[in-house]
Amino acid sequence: MPLGIFFLVSLVKVVITLAVLLTLVAYVQLAERRIVARIQSRVGPTRVGPSGFLQPAADTFKFILKEDITPTDAHPFLYVLAPVISVVLALTALSVVPIGGTFHLFGYPIQFQVTDINVGLLFVLGVTSLGVYGIVLAGWSSNSKYSFLGSLRGGSQMLSYELALGLALIGPIMLAGSLDLRQIVNAQNHIWYIVPEFVAFCIYLTAAFAETNRIPFDLPEAEGELGAGYHTEYSSMKFAMFFLAEYVNMITVSCIATIVFLGGWHGPMFGPALLRVFLPVIWFALKVAFFLFLYIWVRGTLPRFRYDQLMGFGWKFLVPLALANIVVTGAVLSFH
């Protein structure tokens, strides 16, 4: 592929990905409000548009029109940098996630993926591990006790659970023999890794909830005790950036769970050629939607952990379990 066409294709992919992603975030949020409302025997937002369908647009306008407040004693540079770090890293991590196979357009192979790299899984882990800077700097720079406590909690929580998250992914990596997300999916032609690696799947899912600061691990924001945690002082678009980053991170970990454990875009194939191009994407989207629903479901039903329970659970249960899983996987693989 010539360099010019490569750049053109990449640019188009980036624009499409961003557009789809931002719409998706808006509607995941609407879905969350509606589903949580159902769980709590409420109705949720219904007024804007047909059955609340335009609520995200209204929310966006609200975010834009709100006053953008910077606390007097906040550090001016870091206070702005923190949300930017969060949202940029969240979007970057998604750039290597493949959502479908390959098709040919004008003779060029096009992949459903912004960019394909050999060590995609490492890339995602590396970039998401940097996301903790956004939280830590937000709490430090906004110079408020709630923010500071939230960011201390968030920093230690994300560092701890990142370990369990990474270790849980080692088992599937050993089975697939690759860090390339595409190859991991292709290796699951016969059996999805959720079957042989069910323990790893459970660990991954738990740690992913903690990594994205969602209930039951939402101690960094803990609105009952800390105001709003690390983003207490943020308003308007800066808050919207944290919000966006949280939901994009949710989508990223859901995509990784789909790719690593649920066979990615594999599913029944039927119909004409054009459908066969897009059917994998639909399967992928359905699987991701399942995880996103799980997030919302859990949010509606589980209470928040206490801080010492959170750390104890991560270090004393998840990490040893993940290590044991690696040992067992290695033993089984070497006897085969």
Binding site: N118, L122, L125, G126, S129, V136, S144, F148, L152, L159
Partner: protein, 220 residues
């Protein structure tokens, strides 16, 4: 392409390192080092070391430096006043550093001037690294794991110390603790510095502070 990327990210790395040197508050030094590490990761990619590049981001920038930033926040660290010894260090240090650089760079430049490297698609794969690590370098690998274990125990022992004689104040005086230094005081900062109760760096109420810090350290 390769030279352009090298010069761009090399310049970022050097700029980050210089910023690390001139910043007076540790938090900005730490963040500069994160920028240096990011630039170096790109250079590693240019050199075909993809595993090392992402491990650099994952471990170095994503874990070790987060720990640094964390401790800086916890201790509310700021630049101490310069003492007599720092003037001596400056007097002796600058010539020594310049000499060191001249010598190292001179030798390296003379020896490796005509040895072009470029991105030739040759990548040191994860497989190659794993192969070398678990065959040729198995003993060092095991030894480092023991080192890690010792490190974990040491860190827990040190950080979870029994209560010191007096309750730890653990904080520098409020007025000094203007953690947000950088490039001279802005009007707001100067105003805030004039009223010690609302010092800039004092992020947590005084009574909540030592307790929170202690809990955090122990629970890690």
């Amino acid at each position: 392409m390769h030279p352009a990327l090298f010069f761009i990210f090399g310049a970022i790395a050097v700029a980050g390192a210089v910023n690390l040197l001139v910043q007076r508050t540790p938090i900005f030094s730490a963040l500069s080092l994160v920028a240096v590490m990011g630039a170096l990761a790109v250079l590693y990619l240019l050199l075909g070391a993809e595993f090392i590049a992402f491990v650099q981001v994952l471990v170095y920038a994503g874990a070790i430096m987060v720990l640094f930033v964390f401790v800086i926040m916890l201790l509310n660290a700021q630049q101490p006043e310069s003492s007599h010894r720092s003037r001596v260090a400056r007097l002796v240090g600058i010539p020594v550093v310049v000499l060191l650089f001249m010598e190292v760079a001179g030798v390296l430049a003379a020896t490796y001037a005509n040895t072009p490297v470029g991105f030739s698609g040759r990548i040191i794969t994860v497989q190659a690294i794993g192969d070398a690590l678990f065959h040729q370098y198995l003993l060092p690998f095991e030894v480092t794991s023991v080192l890690f274990l010792v490190g974990v125990i040491g860190a827990v022992m040190l950080a979870a110390r029994q209560e010191p004689p007096q309750p730890p104040e653990g904080r520098l005086p409020r007025a000094q603790a203007a953690g947000h230094g950088g490039s001279g005081p802005t009007p707001e900062m100067a105003a805030a510095l004039r009223q010690p109760a609302r010092a800039l760096g004092g992020v947590v109420a005084p009574d909540a502070e030592p307790h929170a810090a202690g809990t955090e350290v122990k629970s890690r």
